[in-house]
């Protein structure tokens, strides 16, 4: 997993994804990060182990960036963590740079919604009582279908 890949081992550092300067033709930066919550469906969560099909996930994340750029005229960066994350740590980061806020928000929202349906990643939740389970998910779609 190289430094330039979109899948990263361990928690993401959101600030790292903002270091790049804003292009001068852009006026809106929208960012979304998903973090591990301490409760899910009433059970106390201690962490999540994220599993990925690396080759297909990298390809799909790149496709999301390209498709969002085309649909919204925005620059989009998408990253996802794999491995063990603790409560409060960031598992996914979407960074969008666009001309105006409407496109920035739309591209950011579309990208996270699409990621959840198209990228082969699985959450294995760990609970305070020592149990662990893979969450139910959604049958994988292609990026174009989203």
């Amino acid at each position: 997993m190289s430094a330039s890949s979109r899948l990263r081992q361990g928690a993401l550092n959101v600030a790292e994804w903002l270091a790049q300067p804003m292009p001068s033709h852009c006026g809106g930066l929208a960012v979304f990060a998903g973090t591990v919550r301490d409760v899910h469906e009433g059970r106390a969560v201690t962490g999540i182990n994220y599993h990925a099909h690396t080759a297909l996930a990298e390809r799909r994340l790149a496709e999301i960036e390209a498709e969002a750029a085309q649909r919204f005229g925005a620059e989009v960066r998408v990253a996802h963590a794999v491995g063990e994350l603790k409560v409060g740590e960031a598992s996914v980061v979407i960074v969008v740079r666009a001309g105006h806020r409407a496109e920035a928000f739309a591209a950011c929202r579309w990208s996270i919604d699409t990621l959840k349906q198209t990228v082969p990643i699985w959450k294995e939740e760990r609970y305070a009582d020592g149990a662990a389970r893979f969450l139910d998910g959604t049958p994988i779609k292609t990026v174009k279908e989203s």
Partner: protein, 81 residues
């Protein structure tokens, strides 16, 4: 023909392993491999319509013919984010 099945996510639980070996006839397809798995693993059989199959970095169609020693990946419903 022998193929190796990599089980991702909950499919590890359904099949009880991360890797499963299958012996299939010549000209076997992805659908044939899924059919054999469904015979062996009732939990997978229940969810067969929700599972996709990947080879390399591509989702493949059920009619895709398999090659000797090929590796295929089971992609159960995804839950990233």
């Amino acid at each position: 023909m022998r193929v190796t099945v990599e089980c991702y996510g909950a499919s590890q639980r359904w099949c009880g392993a991360e890797l499963v070996s299958l012996d299939l006839g010549e000209t076997a397809t992805v659908a044939d491999a899924l059919g054999r798995l469904a015979e062996r693993y009732p939990e997978l059989a229940l969810r067969r319509d929700t599972v996709a199959v990947a080879i390399g970095d591509e989702i493949v169609a059920a009619g895709r013919t398999l090659a000797e020693d090929e590796r295929i990946a089971l992609i159960p419903p995804v839950s990233g984010g």
